[in-house]
Symmetry: C2
Subunit: 317 residues, 2 copies
């Protein structure tokens, strides 16, 4: 199988995830041509997943495919945008037909779930990695940013954090898992939650008008809170006791080396009931975890009334 045959194989396996009504030119040319409405702004985000770092060696293609798309969707969600189009560039040492089929399946499942259309990509030989760029649409000036939190705002977090460290410590041979099996367990099994982060698309779209700032948890909650604090020029105080973890004994790790891809955001206290209602109507687990508490940019975790030392967050270098 050469490169062009492999690309044809992936595109055919993507099926309707590679076709959309605003796609003027899709896969198969030098570039894609896509259309946005005249009152929409375009959100762009790129993330690369490297084997052995963002997913274990021997991870089946469908889990790599789903996770790669979900990680990028998470950034679109954090900007308050609707997922629209994406390109996927896959690098691998050999064009393994079964793995490519499986990878395309995982990409397709996540794309269909969130409304993304694959419009292009690239296949290259080299150490295995997936580079995705996702485009979202948002009404003019309706996007969310890391800046914008105000003193007194509530701090909110969807879902549970800490899946990464629990999953990596409990995981069997990654090759033993499949998308089909894990899909039904993603809300109760940390391994499933790690491979298949739940995109919070509908929740974020409905809550975006109420939120003052937002980001997603891709480098640990501690680090993300620091980003909100820095960009918003505010302090953040979080009650560790109310946080929802996948496993209680991993708390320091869960606040740092964690990419749960949950949505972290702030909102005025007057919005508390509205925010809660959006959580209920979209069946999104939601916790009010603390408060924007000062004009200085420190982040404090309180456990039983005492500050907890949590470390520096994840860095690749």
């Amino acid at each position: 199988m050469n490169e062009f045959e492999a690309i044809d194989l992936i595109v055919s396996r993507l099926g309707s995830a590679a076709r959309g009504h605003n796609v003027v030119v899709g896969t198969g040319d030098d570039g894609a041509v896509v259309r946005f409405a005249s009152d929409e702004e375009v959100v762009v985000t790129s993330d690369v997943l490297v084997e052995g770092r963002h997913f274990p060696k021997r991870t089946p293609g469908d889990l790599v495919g789903y996770r790669s798309v979900a990680v990028n969707v998470s950034d679109l969600v954090a900007m308050g945008s609707r997922p629209r189009y994406m390109t996927v560039a896959l690098t691998m040492e050999a064009a393994d037909k079964d793995w490519l089929y499986s990878f395309a399946d995982g990409v397709r499942v996540c794309c269909m779930e969130v409304g993304l259309t694959v419009v292009g990509g690239n296949l290259t030989r080299g150490p295995k990695s997936v580079a995705i760029t996702a485009l979202g649409s948002v009404g003019a000036d309706c996007y969310l940013r890391r800046s914008g939190a105000n003193e007194g705002d509530d701090i909110w977090l969807t879902g549970r954090i800490g899946a990464t460290s629990v999953a990596l410590s409990r995981m069997a041979d990654p090759a033993s898992y499949s998308l089909e099996e894990l899909m039904s367990k993603r809300h109760c099994d940390p391994v499933a939650a790690y491979f298949l982060p739940t995109p919070r698309v509908e929740f974020a779209l409905q809550v975006s008008g109420m939120a003052s700032s937002a980001t997603d948890v891709s480098d640990g909650l501690a680090s993300e809170l620091k980003q909100l604090a820095k960009h918003s020029k505010c302090g953040m105080q979080v009650e560790v006791g109310v946080l929802e973890f996948w496993h209680e004994t991993h708390i320091p790790k869960a606040l740092n080396d964690d990419d749960s891809y949950e949505l972290l955001f702030t909102a005025n206290q007057a919005m508390r009931n509205e925010v809660t209602k959006v959580g209920e109507s979209t069946a999104t687990p939601l916790t009010r975890i603390g408060r924007v508490n000062s004009k200085t940019t420190n982040v404090v975790f309180l456990q039983d009334g005492e500050p907890l030392e949590v470390g520096r967050g994840y860095s690749h270098f």
Copy 2:
């Protein structure tokens, strides 16, 4: 230097290449927000460059940066679009400050040359590679495609082909080259042409209304002609004698393992003078290399009146 410091360093070094007036939210958030005019369509293309495959080991950062941007611009050009925004995702084993500075310099130089603004990116640890997604804008229905060539059309090619094989066979230690030195030699030295492909932006924008189909030479001229033939459902006949090569003795290789990133396009014979004028007014070397000659999709290279066997084109697998 951690990941966030390294990203700050790159962004500051990009300078005005990371700022544009239609960039609503630039680097530093979960995603960028960019604006297109209401009568514009959005062209999207992604390409990954892997060390040891798309550029040699020990290549200085500025050459990797320039080449990575130029390769993506080449796809935007082939679609007849104007380069607008890009994201750049860099993967490397260690955050080497000097190399990052140099890389950012190369990205900046190419971006400024073609009018691209860097709006986001990613820095990950792993085997060295660069994944870029570039967005271009094009008037509604003004884009070019690989399809559209008609029987009797002229086939045109910008610049010279075959730099890749000549450059790789003549190259000294890649670490001995610099962007500054090669920039002035890109039109006379195959090593310079290999590292620094000349983006044909202005030429393509002016010629796009005259062209019937287009693509860029990223996998050898033979392979690209086959793509035009396949998508346009036409045959292509090219005179080897009129082709401009970097080195005559490498002809079979130059038609196959070659990523010169020149623009290959077809246009009605009635446009011949107009096309020539655009070449002259934009100082773009331009050759009429053959003709779309039939309704069958074969590609024939003629040398002294005899068909030349040229092989299958480059494939990664």
